[in-house]
């Protein structure tokens, strides 16, 4: 009889300990979930920012944009910029 009481007591203790562990872990998971959620929000915000910046870079480095900016600054294309090694072009007019 004494042995049975001991077993029952042990079972009750184990149950209480397990319940305590369960409560602790649940709280831990809930806290982690909040952290994960915050991190996910940060990732989304950074991704959004990256995409916006990427679009701005593409816009600014497009040939169309560069050409119009160059024209504004007074640059013009030079079609005779190739120097021939075989039949050299004149680099200075002497006559």
């Amino acid at each position: 009889m004494k042995k049975i009481n001991l077993v029952v007591l042990l079972l009750i203790v184990i149950t209480l300990v397990l319940q305590g562990i369960n409560i602790y872990l649940s709280n831990k998971i809930a806290a982690n979930s909040i952290n994960v959620s915050k991190m996910q929000e940060n990732i989304d915000a950074l991704n959004e920012k990256n995409q916006i910046l990427e679009a701005k870079i593409l816009d600014s480095t497009s040939l169309d944009h560069i050409a119009s900016r160059a024209a504004q600054l007074g640059f013009a294309s030079d079609n005779k910029n190739y120097i021939s090694l075989y039949s050299p072009l004149e680099v200075a007019i002497t006559r």
């Binding site: 998971i29 982690n32 979930s33 909040i34 994960v36 959620s37 959004e48 995409q51 916006i52 990427e54 679009a55 593409l58 816009d59 480095t61 497009s62 040939l63 169309d64 050409a67 079609n79 910029n81 190739y82 021939s84 090694l85 075989y86 039949s87």
Partner: protein, 562 residues
């Protein structure tokens, strides 16, 4: 007594059996017949499903620069029930949105919970509205197609619109042709909820989305820009109605540039007329005129029917055929002219001589080998092909006119692909625009050059190349050629068929060629439709051609020919 109790026992047994049967039937109803509905009902109570849209794939130039990509934009909406003073709201918002005060005020007066104000806002506009701190005004993030180079290669790239269900759908060019590859597959996110309806973060299940595949093009961005600029300036300078230019690597069939005037901006395609979306390079049939002569001449040389020094014995004057008379374009005639001079002078009577030597059977057979009556198979939406009439329907006049490129229709891409066969030693290549497809997980699928068939012998290609070089050096377009470079080319001035006859005033002016002649790296075709300053290809399309060639020389550092 015993008998009565047995009956009662059996009755109870039967009763239990019936109840058990009913239970089985009910369970069968819930677990088999109604299982799916019950499952869905359970899921709807315990989970929340969110659609995760796939990102549309990018279209990249050969240098990796995005020609079509996605960018974030915002839709601004209002909840009119939370708006305190609609006139103040309208006044503040009208300065930041592309809407007038009255329209905003009218929208805010509607008795709804959600009213769309404007979409396509950028982050600066969003921030400016945010800073107003207006209650009842919110934003929804959206993905929209973005073309950083604006109208560059617009007809080749196409655009993204909506299908009948409001989903993104690519139309025209690559957006249309590769829509299945670009669109990807949307995924779903299932968030498990607890008894109070709060999401359980560590128990998220998902059906993974598959982003669209990226396309890496053969297109060289710098060459495309230069080609587009040269064509635009040329068409304006020569008063043309429209123009097309293609630059191709004749050894592989890679398209390096494909430009068209007039153009459109794929970002705001709906502001342009529908006909500007059509890629003339693959969808426009035209009579090529004298640029076609190089194909007919190469066929006759390939069959040993003529040689460069063969003399024409019918070239002393106009050639009568049935009730028609074939004349030269400038009414100058060269008795006993050689085949080299026939190409140099673009002599129609000389080509009639060549056509007669070939005969209908051989001419049709060679033109078919050159791919004139079939689509090239280029990976762009909307490619068409002209059809050649059956051999038994060819008369003497049809043979004569076809020999100098009239009475027969081709698309610009067909002609350039055929001329590229002369440039590369005789092989007809399949032209292509997409060089690589990159999958969602980074795997690269390379597209290899494809030889369709051999059309002419290598020796023929060499002879024809030098006849075309001679045409550039000594022909009508020599005034605009680039000194120091051997460029093979041919002018074209074609009459335009209109309702059963030829337009007496307008022409299609063109120039086709390739260089460096000893080892061609670039084949170029330029077409100017209905130029006004001059009707001739040598005075309109040729200078544009040589401008593009000069740009290619500069871009690729091509040394002069020795």
């Amino acid at each position: 007594m015993k008998k009565t109790s047995n009956i009662r026992l059996r009755l109870v047994l039967i009763g239990f059996a019936v109840l058990f049967l009913l239970l089985v039937i009910r369970l069968f109803y819930w677990q088999v017949v109604n299982a799916e509905d019950l499952k869905d009902y359970g899921l709807s109570q315990s989970t929340e499903s969110l659609d995760v849209p796939a990102s549309r794939g990018q279209i990249l130039a050969s240098d990796g620069f995005a020609l079509a990509t996605n960018k974030i934009s915002y839709l601004v909406y209002a909840n009119p029930r939370l708006v305190s003073d609609k006139d103040v709201y309208a006044q503040k918002l009208s300065g930041l949105l592309d809407m007038d005060q009255a329209t905003i005020s009218a929208l805010l007066s509607r008795k709804l919970f959600w009213v769309r104000l404007e979409s396509g806002l950028n982050d600066v506009q969003k921030k400016a509205i945010d800073n107003l701190h207006l209650d009842g005004i919110g934003f929804e993030q959206q993905q929209e197609r973005f073309y950083p180079e604006a109208s560059m290669a617009a007809q080749l790239i196409g655009f993204v619109g909506k299908d009948a269900y409001g989903n993104q759908q690519g139309y025209f060019g690559l957006e249309g042709y590769y829509n299945d590859q670009l669109e990807g597959r949307s995924g779903s996110l299932y968030v498990i909820k607890d008894a109070l309806g709060n999401p359980v973060i560590n128990d998220i299940r998902q059906e993974k989305k598959i982003d669209g595949r990226n396309l890496v093009l053969t297109l060289n961005r710098t060459i495309q820009y230069d080609t587009q600029t040269a064509l635009e300036q040329g068409v304006v300078k020569y008063g043309g109605e429209s123009g097309t230019a293609i630059v191709m690597d004749p050894q592989t069939g890679k398209v390096l540039a494909m430009a068209q005037v007039p153009n459109f901006d794929p970002q705001i395609y709906y502001n342009f007329p529908g006909e500007s979306y059509v890629n003339q390079a693959v969808s426009d049939l035209y009579e090529p005129g004298s640029t076609f002569k190089v194909l007919v001449m190469s066929a006759a040389i390939d069959m040993n029917l003529v040689k460069p020094e063969t003399q024409c014995n019918i070239c002393a004057g106009p050639v009568p055929i049935d009730s028609y008379k074939i004349e030269t374009w400038d009414n100058k005639y060269f008795p006993n002219t050689t085949m080299t001079d026939v190409i140099q002078h673009s002599d129609n009577t000389g080509m009639v001589f060549v056509g007669r030597k070939l005969g209908v059977d051989n001419l049709v057979s060679y033109l078919k080998n050159y791919g004139i009556d079939e689509t090239t198979g280029i990976d762009l939406q909307g490619e068409v092909s002209g059809t050649m009439r059956p051999k038994d329907q060819w008369g003497a006049i049809d043979l004569a006119t076809a020999s100098f490129g009239q009475g027969i229709s081709v698309t610009p891409i067909q002609l350039l692909t055929a001329v590229s066969a002369i440039a590369n030693g005789g092989s007809l290549m399949k032209p292509y625009v997409v060089d690589k497809i990159i999958t969602d997980d980074g795997k690269e699928i390379a597209i290899k050059p494809q030889v369709k068939r051999r059309v002419i012998k290598e020796s023929t290609s060499q002879i024809m190349t030098w006849m075309m070089v001679n045409a550039v050096e000594n022909g009508e377009s020599k005034w605009t050629k680039i000194d120091g470079y051997k460029i093979a080319g041919k002018t074209g001035t074609a009459q335009i068929p209109v309702a059963g006859h030829y337009d007496p005033k307008n022409t299609n002016a063109s120039f086709v060629g390739f260089f460096p002649a000893d080892k061609p790296r670039f084949a170029i075709l330029v077409i100017v439709n209905k130029p006004k300053t001059s009707i001739y290809g040598s005075e309109t399309a040729a200078p544009i051609f040589f401008q593009i060639a000069q740009d290619l020389i500069n871009e690729y550092n091509i040394p002069p020919s020795q």
